[in-house]
């Protein structure tokens, strides 16, 4: 089996369809309609892959690899883990491809499959499945502070990207998970609740705490410019 680049360049569905590597996601990536001709071409490739055509599967990999790898990377923050998880996601995709019936867009189905792969991985690392509401609640000393009493300092000007990246990397796993799913990947709270088997209220609460924690971290560590 050899991998050659697909001759027809089509994009996975979602606003990411026009994103090249290195571009950023601006909002709600998954619900932008794909054009009909691209859908038809992808359906043909999918049908061939479902019939066991390895070249067609390679084409599906080429179409979806950036979104899946970027998703894994944003959820775990480690390149090595993201590579392993991307591999596992595509292996599961290969195993299950014949069961895909097209009720949802392939990109949505694959995206959810990848999220489940990442969740399984995180749970193996200690994020409990059975009581996510409690398991995702960090220890008291990791909780963000409330913001009342003395006037808050509004974040001044542009946020330092490195400081924000560091703050996100330092988030407890549960906070990071919901923050990435909601604020980066564009999932709604009801979808997150279903994915994570927690309540909608818990999803909202955890997201809010994650943002508060990021704010705390950014206020503790001034921008690079501010340190000079």
């Amino acid at each position: 089996m050899t991998h050659t680049e697909p001759t027809t360049q089509i994009s996975e569905s979602g606003s990411s369809q026009n994103l090249e590597a290195g571009e950023t996601r601006h909002a709600r990536p998954r619900y932008v309609p794909q054009d009909t001709s691209a859908n038809q071409v992808q359906a043909e490739i999918l049908a061939r892959a479902q019939a066991g055509d390895h070249q067609a599967f390679a084409e599906l990999y080429t179409l979806h690899k950036r979104r899946i790898y970027s998703l894994c990377l944003s959820m775990v923050g480690s390149i090595a883990e993201a590579e392993d998880l991307t591999q596992e996601a595509f292996l599961q995709f290969h195993r299950k491809i014949a069961t895909f019936r097209g009720e949802s867009a392939l990109s949505t189905w694959l995206h959810r499959l990848a999220i489940n792969v990442v969740l399984m991985h995180l749970r193996k690392k200690g994020l409990q499945v059975t009581s996510l509401d409690e398991a995702m609640e960090p220890a008291p000393d990791q909780r963000p502070g409330r913001s009342f009493g003395a006037p808050d300092l509004a974040l001044s000007g542009a946020i330092d990207r490195l400081a924000l990246q560091r703050a996100i990397d330092d988030l407890p796993a549960g906070y990071r998970l919901i923050f990435v799913l909601h604020d980066i990947e564009g999932y709604e709270h009801n979808e997150i609740a279903t994915l994570l088997d927690c309540s909608i209220g818990n999803s909202k609460s955890q997201l809010h705490k994650a943002r508060l924690k990021l704010r705390d971290a950014l206020r503790r560590h001034p921008t690079q410019e501010g340190r000079r």
Partner: protein, 83 residues
């Protein structure tokens, strides 16, 4: 604007904030925010952080070698299922 809403303390308002933000509605005109610069600043910060974070995670290309690894693993699985 109800008196009950207007008279919320910062603590009470911030306890409601996850639901208010999660509702997806524009809460800029919430009675408490109109009179409280502290909570208005908090909300502005949270919105700024969310927007900045979206810009922070680019779509990136996985390493070229990854496909070879996946392809190899797929072949191993297929060989195992054929035997």
């Amino acid at each position: 604007m109800s008196e009950e809403t207007t008279d919320l303390s910062c603590a009470e308002f911030q306890a409601q904030l996850p639901d208010l933000i999660g509702s997806g509605e524009n809460i800029a005109d919430h009675a408490h925010l109109l009179k409280c610069e502290n909570c208005s600043a908090l909300l502005r910060d949270l919105e700024t952080i969310a927007e900045a974070a979206r810009q922070l995670f680019p779509i990136v290309e996985p390493p070229d070698e990854l496909w070879a690894q996946i392809e190899s693993a797929m072949q191993s699985e297929e060989a195992a299922s054929d035997s």
